[in-house]
Point group: C2
Chain length 218, copies 2
Amino acid sequence: MASSPSGKPVLYSYFRSSCSWRVRIALALKGITYDQVPVNLLKDGGQQLAAEFQVVNPMQQVPALKIDGITLSQSLAIIEYLEETRPNPRLLPQDQKKRAQVRMISDHIVSGIQPLQNLAVLQRVGEKKLEWAQHYITNGFQALEQILKNTAGRYCVGDEVSMADLCLVPQVYNAERYKVDLAPYPTITRINKTLLELEAFQVSHPTKQPDTPAELRA
Amino acid sequence: MASSPSGKPVLYSYFRSSCSWRVRIALALKGITYDQVPVNLLKDGGQQLAAEFQVVNPMQQVPALKIDGITLSQSLAIIEYLEETRPNPRLLPQDQKKRAQVRMISDHIVSGIQPLQNLAVLQRVGEKKLEWAQHYITNGFQALEQILKNTAGRYCVGDEVSMADLCLVPQVYNAERYKVDLAPYPTITRINKTLLELEAFQVSHPTKQPDTPAELRA
């Protein structure tokens, strides 16, 4: 658990992990420079399972962030910590009800969709994994589209980029990987497209990470 | 979406839903009186799927809480809202790093364990559902036990009851339902037992709700 020689925060990340991407967007939006340590979820039977990584994060998952002398995991817990310690620009609205909506949408994606279609679960599901992933993403997006009709402005909640947007874009990326038809979700699709025009979403993109394989780089 | 005639918050809940229980504990700890509308996840093919409930919560899940003129879902989003609007007694520590630990443990349970062993997923898994549930709870508890060794005092993080504790107790209850051997998790077991002595955890218990069937009442 040595600190970064540079003194900067260290992000343990995998280029294609949607949970890692959420945190990379937050770091980019807040202008926090960091060192990145790639953890390959496929190589060596999953480097997140190695004893040396278990010392960093007993949950054996990415992302994990070493910052301010502690190591945090769980993407939303990390983002909430960044929000409390580096509040500008804010990722939670000032209005309490809007904050609640941002957290509701974030939790819907982070607890209600992503865990059911992550790599480890799909490996366990076996041959029906594509159908399984599509089922849970579709179910989740049907609800999300309804919710966004009430909350969205330019972005998921009103016109400010929020934590919910940091969850949305990586989840849409996963939906595309699993060939989910996005036509029934015009609000999701519109917001995703708008967000992808922002620099913080581009520099943090899975196609542009230090561990992105050459053939997937953009 | 009529308000409660009493003007009190309305909780849509199912006695055995661990996500509902988290919110019931928060309401009890903060001394918030509320009306409860039972939503039976088994009856009528799942009352959460009915059109009239979809108007309340497009996510078709319990819990949902009508409060202050809005309807919120997702247990942690609800608890964070209660914390911001009814801060006493607090469920997040004052110290920012401890707050981060509370959220990390909460998310680990809420995103990393519970979604993989909830009723709808197990119905989809089919005949291997007990093995499936045990696998994910065991995996999650192994990590949680390690984390708690660093964070716990009397409760999950230090000596104050926090949001993490509201997640822990219902998850241990699920583990017991699915016959997970808890012997390897002395810290989890010890904290769970201590918490169950508190009144807020008792009055909110699945065996004591308006919709608890007579044969399960305690």
